[in-house]
C-alpha cells in the first residue's frame, strides 16, 4: 500500500485539521518531504493568515508564487497565498480582457462585494486558482497562464500542498458546487466550480487530516473524515501531531509496569543524596500516576485514530516551537515513515 493509502497518484494534497493542531506546520513539512531531487512543490494557503511565512520564517507571501524553501533532497518548495479578490481580478483580466478596469472595480468596491456577498463565490475563486496551479504545465509557467496540459508535457508543479481551512469549515470549502446551487446556476463561475469539483473528486486529490492525541481534536477529525468520505472525497493519511517523545513514552511504560511505593521511593532518593520531604514524595507519586492516566487516554485515542482505517503518520512534539529547522525535522520524520514523492 502507498503511504497515502490510495491507489492513485495524488498531486494535490489538501491538509486540514482542528484549529490549533498545527496543520500549517504539517503542510509545510509535507511539501518539504515531497520536494525530492529535481522536483517542484507548491505550498498554498487560502485564509490570508501568513501562516506559511511564519512557519518557514520568510517574507510574507504575496499573490505571486515565490520560492520559499528547499526540499529534503534538494527540490524546490514554492509558496503562494491565494486572495479571493486578486484571483477575481486575474480571472476577469484573462476572460474579459478587462485590463486596467480591474482597478476600477476595486475602487468601486465591486471586488469586495463579489467575494463577500456569496461565500461560495469566494471559495470558487480560491479553488480556481488551486485548480490552475495543479493543471499548469512546465511551459506555461508564468503565473496566471491558463494553458491546458498537453499530452506528455510535464506539470509546472510535481505536487501542490494546500493548507486548507480547519475541519469546521473544510467541508463547505471543498463543496464548491453545492454552495453555488442557488446563487449561480449558469455562467463562467458555475463552469469553473464544476471543473474544480471534478479535480477534487479525482485520484489527483487526497485530503490529509491533522490531529493531536486529545479528545476533542480526535473526535472532530474522525467526524470530518467520515463527512468528507460521504462527500466522496479521498481521505489520505491521518497525522497525529505533537506526540510525546519516544523516550518519555518508554519512561511512562516503566512507571506503569511497577508500583510506585512512597517509602521505597524516599529511601532510593536519599541513597543518591537527595533530601526528601513527604510533600516531595507525594508530588512525585502523583506526577507518576497522572502520567499513567494520560498514557491510557492517549492509547485509547490512538486506537480510535487507527480504527478509522487510514494510514497514520506520527509526528513528535517539538518543545522549542516551530521554525524552518523544525519543519525540516518533521519532513524527515515523514520521509522515515514512507512519505515519498
Amino acid at each position: 500500500m502507498s503511504w497515502h493509502g490510495t491507489d492513485a497518484e495524488p498531486r494535490l494534497h489538501i491538509v486540514t485539521g482542528k484549529g490549533g493542531t498545527g496543520k500549517t506546520t504539517v503542510a509545510a513539512a509535507l511539501a518539504t518531504a515531497l520536494a525530492g531531487e529535481g522536483r517542484r512543490v507548491l505550498l498554498v494557503e487560502t485564509e490570508e493568515r501568513q501562516g506559511i511565512s511564519q512557519v518557514l520564517d520568510v517574507a510574507p507571501l504575496g499573490t505571486q508564487e515565490t520560492e520559499v524553501s528547499t526540499g529534503l533532497d534538494g527540490g524546490e518548495v514554492w509558496g503562494l497565498s491565494i486572495v479571493a479578490g486578486a484571483a477575481l481580478v486575474e480571472y476577469l483580466r484573462l476572460f474579459y480582457r478587462l485590463g486596467r478596469a480591474g482597478d476600477l472595480l476595486h475602487r468601486m468596491g465591486a471586488i469586495e462585494f463579489a467575494t463577500t456577498i456569496a461565500p461560495g463565490v469566494r471559495d470558487v475563486l480560491i479553488g480556481g486558482k488551486v485548480y490552475e496551479s495543479v493543471r499548469r504545465t512546465a511551459s506555461g509557467r508564468a503565473p496566471g497562464s491558463r494553458r491546458g496540459r498537453h499530452l506528455g508535457e510535464p506539470p509546472a508543479y510535481d505536487a501542490v500542498v494546500l493548507d486548507a481551512p480547519p475541519t469546521g469549515r473544510v467541508g463547505r470549502f471543498l463543496d464548491v458546487t453545492g454552495q453555488l446551487a442557488d446563487l449561480a446556476r449558469v455562467g463562467p463561475i458555475r463552469n469553473q466550480a464544476d471543473a474544480i469539483r471534478q479535480l477534487l473528486h479525482s485520484g489527483t486529490t487526497v485530503v490529509h487530516l491533522v490531529t493531536l492525541l486529545e479528545q476533542l481534536p480526535v473526535q472532530e477529525t474522525l467526524d470530518a473524515a467520515a463527512e468528507l468520505e460521504t462527500d466522496r472525497l479521498r481521505i489520505g493519511t491521518l497525522v497525529v501531531n505533537q506526540t510525546p517523545d519516544a523516550s518519555v513514552r518508554e519512561d511512562v511504560e516503566v512507571v506503569a509496569a511497577g508500583e510506585t511505593d512512597p517509602a521505597r521511593l524516599a529511601e532510593r532518593l536519599e541513597s543518591v543524596g537527595i533530601r526528601t520531604s513527604p510533600a516531595m514524595i507525594e508530588g512525585l507519586v502523583q506526577t507518576a500516576a497522572e502520567a499513567v492516566t494520560r498514557r491510557d487516554l492517549e492509547a485509547t485515542l490512538e486506537d480510535a485514530v487507527v480504527g478509522a482505517g487510514r494510514p497514520v503518520l506520527t509526528l513528535p512534539h517539538l518543545p522549542e516551537g516551530v521554525g524552518p529547522d523544525a519543519v525540516r525535522r518533521l519532513a524527515a520524520e515523514l520521509a522515515a515513515q514512507g512519505v515519498a514523492p
Binding site: K18, G19, G20, R49, L92, Y96, L98, A101, L104, L105, R107, M108, G109, A110, E112, F113, A114, T116, I117, A118, V121, G168, R172, D182, L183, A184, R185, V186, G187, P188, I189, Q215, L216, Q219, V248, E250, D251, V252, V255, T260, R264, R268, L269, V272, I274, S277, A279, M280, I281, E282, G283, L284, Q286, T287, A288, E290, T293, R294, P319, G321
Partner: protein
Amino acid sequence: MTDLDLGALLDDSTTSVVVCCGAGGVGKTTTAAALALRAAERGRRVVVLTIDPARRLAQALGLDELDNTPRPVVGVDTSAGGSLDAMMLDMKRTFDELVLTHADPGTAQQILDNSVYQALSSSFAGTQEYMAMERLGQLRAQADAEDSWDLIVVDTPPSRSALDFLDAPTRLGSFLDGRFIRLLTAPARAGGRVGARALGVGMSVAAATLGKLLGRQLLLDVSTFVAAMDTVFGGFRARADETYRLLQDPGTRFVVVATPERDALREAGYFVQRLARDRMPLAGLVLNRVAVSRARISADRARDAAETLAESGERHTAAVLRVHADRAEVAARHRRLIRDTAAAHPRLATVQVPLAGADIADLPALREVAEALCTP
C-alpha cells in the same frame, strides 16, 4: 502581575455581563460554563450563552441540540437562591427572528425567501459573531423586562482570531452599507426612478461585469435584499454600532482566555490592547492548562539522580524521576511564557488553571474547573 479574583467578580452584583473571549481551542466555552455554574450556585440568577460547545460539555449542560431558547440546567445547587439557564446559539434562527420581529409580515417573508439572505444568514464570515452580539442584546432586554436574570455569561464564536468577535459585526455592517451596494441598490431605493444612466459609466461597467460573472438574478436578489433590510433596520452600520456599545456598558466584564503557548498568548495580548483602546472593561486573563511541577526538585537534579539510580538497576525509580523532570521542564517553559506576557502587560490581572486530565463531561467536573478559576 496581579491576581484575577473571578470569585469576587461573580459575587459583585454590579457585574451583569461576562464575555469570555480568546483564540480557538483555549477552553473558552468551558470557562464560560464553569463561571456561570459557580455564580448560580452562589445565588445569582444566571443565563449562559454558548456558541459551539463540545458534545460532552453540551450534554453536561443539558443542551442536546441547537436551541435558541435558554433552558434550566438540571443538577444545579439552587440552595443559595440562584438559578442557571443555558442555551446554544442558533445563528440562522436568531437572524430570522430579528427579521420577523422588525419587519411587517410581507417584507419579512420577502427577506426570508431571498437567496442572498439565506447565504448570508447561514454562512457569511462574521454572521455568527454578529448574531452572538445580537442575541446578547436580546437576552439583556429580556432580563430587564422580566427581571429573569441578573448575570449573563457569554462565550464567543470559535474564530481564527479573538478580535473577530469585536470586528465582524461592524465589518458586516459596513459591507452592507458599502459604496457598491448603495450604488447597486440605488434604483430600487428610489422606487426605480433613478435609472442606470445616473450612476455613471464606472458603475455600469462594474455592474455589467459582475452581472455576466455572477448572473443578473444574483445582482437583482442583492438589491431586493438590501432594500428590504434597509426598510427594516435603517442601516446595518448603525445597528452594529449600537450592539457594539452594549459591550462598553459599565456592567460588562471581559475575561480573556489563553493557554501558555506563544500563539494563544500573542492573540490574548492583541485583544487586551484592543479592549483598552475601545474602553471596554477588561477583568483579566485566564490561563488554562498551565503545567505545574508537583515536587520541589529541579529537572536537572532529577535527571542526574535518575542516571545514578538506573546504573544500580533502579529502573522504576529512575523512570519516575525522569517523568517528573519532563513535567518540570514543561512547567518551566510555561512559566517563562507567562512571565514574558506579564512583563508586556504589567497591569493585567491573571489567574492560572492547572492542566486537567480528561475533558469536562458533567457538572461536578465543571465545579472543579470553577474552583480552580476562582482560587487565585
